[in-house]
């Protein structure tokens, strides 16, 4: 069995790389990373056309779709159009995140309350300009440190 440690990155398709970079950098506070196939060496090698942004330590590759993708209905903000990425913010920043979306007139659903006994506090749901579903939430257990469970060599 492969003992995977954590999720490293995801690749999502977008309709406009520049628009997507601006969305993830300006709205979500991501950092622009590399672009691929915008230089001669990449073109000569026939690499895929994509860029990437980094949110804290998570890399999201933004691949330019070569064909138009079906778009979810405009008024649907919550769903999984193939995939949904949920990003965590601290409880203290959650309100500011909502303000940032409102300032840019980005429609969202929520905040939606999660069960009090569960690890999640509240979530909001929205989409990027290419119709990729996104979620931002805060966790009730945000102060806790996670450790790999100790496996005792018994028996």
């Amino acid at each position: 069995m492969a003992e995977v440690e954590s999720l490293s990155h995801s690749g999502i398709c977008v309709h406009d790389l520049k628009e997507a970079e601006e969305f993830y950098c300006q709205v979500l506070g991501a950092r622009q990373n590399t672009r691929v196939n915008f230089n001669t060496d990449d073109a000569m090698r026939g690499r895929s056309v994509h860029g990437s942004v980094v949110l804290e330590d998570y890399l999201l590759a933004l691949v330019v779709a070569h064909d138009y993708m079906p778009m979810p209905p405009e008024d649907q903000h919550r769903g999984a159009h193939g995939i949904r990425h949920a990003f965590r913010v601290s409880r203290a920043r959650f309100g500011k995140t909502l303000d940032a979306l409102r300032e840019r007139s980005i429609p969202f659903e929520g905040p939606v309350d999660h069960p009090e006994k569960g690890p999640f506090g509240q979530s909001i749901y929205f989409k990027d300009p290419s119709g990729n579903f996104l979620e931002i939430l805060w966790r009730r257990d945000e102060g806790q440190k996670y450790q790999k469970p100790t496996v005792l060599d018994v028996g």
Partner: protein, 302 residues
């Protein structure tokens, strides 16, 4: 610096192998007014022309100029829409082949045609609604296009360092790739350098049609197109700051000094500001290169 303040393209300098032959071509075919031989500073044996709109074209002689590759690099002039037929007739008389293409950039999508000068320098005429510059003649320089090997470096230079705005981008969106597919199927005729076949290094090295990435940078009322080079070509030596082909933008002396300081801060090689003798059509120049090795100049008019 809050963005480079330039008015427009002041002049374009290109290389030709035979001055006399090219002088006739640009004077008689396009209606440029010759200013004389060897009077343009830092251009060696050359012919200078003035366009109706007061911009200049300099032909620098390079007898060993080889055949020019078919790339996105070109120079573009505006011509009155009402003049199109007269120009087409003149071209036919001269036996010059004209090509019309579909264009990505909305500003060029209307009537346009391309042809080559005797050395293979590509020229584009863009239809404008302006006044005619005499039957069959062109009005002025609309834009120039050069090749770069890295669009991220180019963006950093033109947009972040020089602070210039973007006019248009090609190759960043699905719409561009959907159109490239039409080109691949032979359904759209596109200008050289705007489309390319990529050979994927996965999927059994399948060939796919793609938009060749481009960024158009606004320089006052002119535009410089940056086309991704699909091959590496010889670049000039690092220390060489003046050369041709070259695109020069019109600005003030204060800007020359500011940009010289800025280039020094960013450790980019440059030469000048240089003051020219009274006989020269321009007062002073600052010479530098972009990260693609393209020669650029800021020029102060008299």
């Amino acid at each position: 610096m809050s963005g480079l303040q330039v008015d427009t393209i002041n002049h374009i300098s290109i290389e030709v192998s035979d001055l006399k032959r090219s002088e006739d071509f640009y004077h008689h075919l396009l209606g440029f007014e010759p200013l004389g031989r060897d009077l343009w500073p830092d251009s060696g044996p050359s012919v200078s022309f003035r366009t109706v709109q007061g911009q200049f074209l300099i032909l620098s002689e390079n007898p060993s100029l080889g055949s020019l590759p078919e790339t996105g690099a070109h120079q573009a002039y505006t011509t009155a829409r009402s003049n199109r037929d007269a120009i087409a007739k003149k071209f036919k008389q001269w036996g010059i082949e004209i090509h019309s293409y579909r264009e990505d950039r909305p500003a060029e999508s209307a009537d346009n045609f391309y042809f080559c000068d005797p050395d293979g320098n590509r020229i584009q005429l863009v239809a404008s609604n302006g006044q005619s510059a005499g039957e069959g003649n062109v009005q002025g320089i609309d834009h120039a296009a050069v090749e770069v090997v890295d669009l991220e470096w180019a963006e950093d230079f033109y947009i972040n360092i020089l602070g210039l705005p973007v006019d248009h981008r090609v190759g960043w969106s699905t719409a561009d790739y959907a159109r490239a597919k039409r080109w691949g199927e032979g359904k759209e005729d596109m200008a050289p350098g705007t489309r390319r076949w990529d050979q994927l290094y996965t999927e059994n090295r399948r060939r796919v049609p793609r938009a060749n990435s481009q960024v158009f940078i606004q320089f006052g009322n002119a535009v410089l197109g940056l086309f991704l080079a699909t091959k590496h070509r010889q670049e000039p030596p690092e220390e060489q700051a003046v050369g041709s082909p070259r695109v020069a933008f019109r600005t003030s002396r204060r800007v020359l000094d500011d940009v010289a300081k800025l280039l020094e801060e960013h450790r980019k090689p440059f030469q000048g500001p240089v003051d020219h003798p009274a006989s020269a059509p321009i007062e002073s120049s600052l010479y530098f290169k972009d990260p693609g090795g393209n020669f650029l100049e800021l020029a102060v008019p008299r």
